[in-house]
């Protein structure tokens, strides 16, 4: 009981409100300490700090396992009993949801549902924005009912994933080694960077980067980059195979650490990259820019899904965890690393004015910006690469995707690697 009251004080009633909607907090409050939820997902949001804070705020134990995207898909699709909570990306959801290994979530139990940004609800950041190509989160975000294994195109009240984290990705560059402005995706294949470029070797993401490059080169304009035909896949791969055989690429990377090492060591000066990798390179004192490009960003989003096997007290705890997740602390924690939270306004309470201005509003930092781990990321006067939330998320050209011709694409990708 002492635990419960302390929690309410700490959370300013937020958890209490969530608890009351779930009913009978008195009963589970005593048992909840024994609950252990097993969460797995990609490294980006599977952070030990989150597990510690969950223990502190909610009282139950969260076990985290971090895997790469392929392993995550595999596990979610084949081992439904090995996890309680899946922290996956939306394109993975498109693959995994039809297996029925995840259960639909009742949005009426999600306290901050109404505050979730439009991208995850009707697909629109602002009422007049256009929806980008690819597997846009809202298109796989809702299902027809509690037992649904389909996707519906409206806010049905049953969500497949509760959105947690997302970002807009672009190319990372070494401004000191390039020495001139970079403003197009086509620069990745510019012969000027022969032997100094890299692309990521994860087919479903790599193909999207390739498509951005091909369009930017003016070689072809895809009707839908996120769902290419076989001919379009062949064409895209041919362009990149030729570049590979001409020695354009220094290496391909598959893990986060590899991308950091390639960039920090100067082996590569321009490559596909993820936002925290830029941070990691900068933290080593090496200049690195997450370069906004004219054609826009390739975006991705992740969310939390519940295992179909989850019931009773564990499921109540999972809902409480989700409500806590959207309540702001995690959002602030993630946003201070350069990601975005699904409910930005709650995160604001957990960020300083300077941090909020820098990360979200695209304003000049008024003081040193540090990561949640204490590394300085920006000095006073610096502005975030790409600007504000609306500037960045408003310029998304495509989302990470799974295509209808996915298997064909994967085979072609293997050929590209072996070429």
């Amino acid at each position: 009981m002492t635990k419960l009251s302390r929690r309410n004080v700490l959370q300013g009633g937020a958890a209490f409100a969530a608890g009351s909607t779930l009913g009978a907090p008195m009963i589970w409050a005593q048992n909840i300490k024994d609950v252990t939820l097993r969460q797995f997902g990609t490294g980006v949001s599977n952070l030990n700090e989150v597990a510690q804070k969950v223990k502190e705020d909610l009282g139950f134990t969260l076990e985290m396992t971090a895997l790469d995207s392929d392993s995550v898909t595999q596990r979610a699709a084949t081992q439904p009993n090995s996890f309680d909570i899946a922290d996956i990306e939306y394109w993975i959801c498109k693959k995994v949801w039809p297996t029925g290994n995840l259960q639909a979530m009742d949005t009426s139990k999600i306290k901050n549902y109404d505050k979730i940004v439009g991208i995850f609800r009707d697909g629109k950041l602002t009422p007049d924005s256009t929806i980008a190509q690819g597997t846009a989160p809202h298109s796989v975000g809702f299902t027809s009912g509690p037992e649904g294994t389909d996707f519906v195109d409206n806010e049905s009240g049953w969500m497949t994933l509760i959105p947690t984290i997302y970002n807009a990705d672009t190319l990372g560059i070494r401004p000191d080694l390039i020495g001139r402005p970079i403003s197009n995706w086509s620069e990745l294949l510019n012969p000027e960077f022969k032997g100094k470029a890299s692309i990521l070797d994860i087919s479903s993401i790599g193909i999207m980067d390739m498509a951005m490059v091909v369009e930017s080169m003016g070689e072809y304009t895809y009707p839908d980059k996120g769902n290419m035909t076989r001919e379009e896949i062949d064409l895209t791969m041919a362009i990149f195979t030729e570049a590979k055989q001409n020695g354009q690429f220094r290496a391909f990377w598959k893990s986060f650490d590899e991308s950091v090492n390639l960039m920090a060591s100067g082996e590569v000066v321009i490559q596909s990259m993820w936002s925290p990798a830029i941070t990691a390179v900068k933290a080593r004192g090496v200049p690195c820019v997450y370069q906004p490009l004219e054609e826009g960003y390739r975006s991705w989003g992740g969310g939390i899904g519940l295992s179909a096997a989850l019931t009773g007290l564990e499921r109540d705890a999972a809902y409480e965890y989700i409500n806590w997740y959207l309540d702001g602390w995690v959002g602030g924690f993630l946003m201070r690393q350069g990601y975005y939270s699904a409910v930005p306004e709650t995160s604001k309470n957990h960020m300083s004015e300077n941090e909020w201005g820098y990360w979200f509003e695209g304003k000049e930092a008024t003081d040193v910006i540090t990561s949640p781990f204490g590394d300085p990321l920006a000095q006073a006067g610096e502005v975030r690469d790409g600007g504000s939330f609306n500037d960045r998320m408003g310029a998304v050209a495509c989302w990470n995707a799974v295509m209808d011709e996915n298997q064909y694409m994967v085979r072609k990708w293997n050929e590209f690697i072996a070429a």
């Binding site: 060591s265 799974v402 070429a419």
Partner: protein, 273 residues
């Protein structure tokens, strides 16, 4: 004695292989595998010229690595067995050869990366000596790097069996050859090498199977730019295409068995042991 060993082999060797063969005939969709009996995995495998290229690459790595590990391994073993006279020193030097193996082979492999890189130790040393004017790009993320890592990782597997057979060569045979007027080169070619064949063959089997089954060395040292059969399999597994991975594994297994079969035609290891 035979019973338990058979049981262990059956459970841990035969059963998994049978399972792999069975699964290689199954079908796969993106997120599930379906029991069936279809040849489509094999059809795709043999119908794609990538397969042939990748198998060729795998053989290429195995052959080049074999030449280098054999040359280095034989020389080291020869030195230990015939030039180092005292048994104590033989043991000391032999153990010295194994010291690198106290660390993980992935760590030994990855430690080459900063060494060979564009701004790595090798390039900066060569630059400062004036040997080269600009960094050598082919040192890292190339076939050169892959072979270098293989040779570094697997030479000991050559040294050990060759050293072992050399130690069992009766020294009086060499004396007899010398008394009969044979030169050093003749002794090496006509006496030592024929008697060392079983060791060479065992070492060859180790090296060839290790290189042909590898995927992680190729991935890291080529910067993911080259492929061998192991990488095809690991890519398939990553994409949930277990049946296709199994089919590739079966073909690889057969290939390696054929290679070993051919090798064993040259030397009857059992007789020589």
């Amino acid at each position: 004695m035979a019973g338990p060993i058979m049981a262990v082999l059956l459970f841990f060797l035969v059963l998994p292989i049978v399972m792999i063969i069975v699964v290689s005939f199954w079908r796969a969709t993106e997120f599930s595998i379906i029991p069936a009996f279809v040849w489509e995995n094999y059809e795709f495998l043999f119908g794609s010229n990538v397969t042939y290229r990748v198998f060729f690459n795998t053989f290429k790595y195995a052959a080049i690595t074999w030449v280098f590990t054999l040359t280095i391994g034989f020389t080291v073993a020869y030195f230990l067995a015939f030039h180092v006279r005292s048994l104590t020193w033989q043991i000391v030097l032999f153990l010295l050869c194994t010291i690198p193996f106290w660390t993980s082979n992935i760590i030994r492999m990855i430690s080459w990366i900063p060494f060979l890189g564009r701004n790595g130790i090798a390039n900066s040393t060569l630059l400062s000596w004036g040997v080269i004017d600009e960094p050598l790009e082919w040192l890292l993320f190339s076939d050169f790097a892959v072979i270098l890592a293989f040779v570094h990782l697997y030479t000991l597997f050559m040294v050990v069996p060759i050293f072992n057979t050399m130690m069992r060569i009766d020294k009086s045979l060499i004396e007899a050859a010398r008394d009969a007027g044979a030169s050093g080169a003749q002794i090496l070619w006509n006496v030592i090498i024929p008697l060392t064949k079983p060791g060479i063959m065992i070492g060859t089997i180790f090296v060839v199977t290790l290189v042909m089954g590898d995927f992680i060395t190729v991935r890291f040292m080529s910067g993911s730019q080259s492929a061998n059969v192991g990488r095809l399999i690991s890519n398939d597994i990553a994409l949930l295409a277990y049946p296709s991975a199994s089919a590739t594994a079966v073909v690889l297994l057969l290939t390696v068995l054929i290679v070993i079969g051919i090798l064993l035609r040259f030397v009857d290891i059992r007789k020589e042991l």
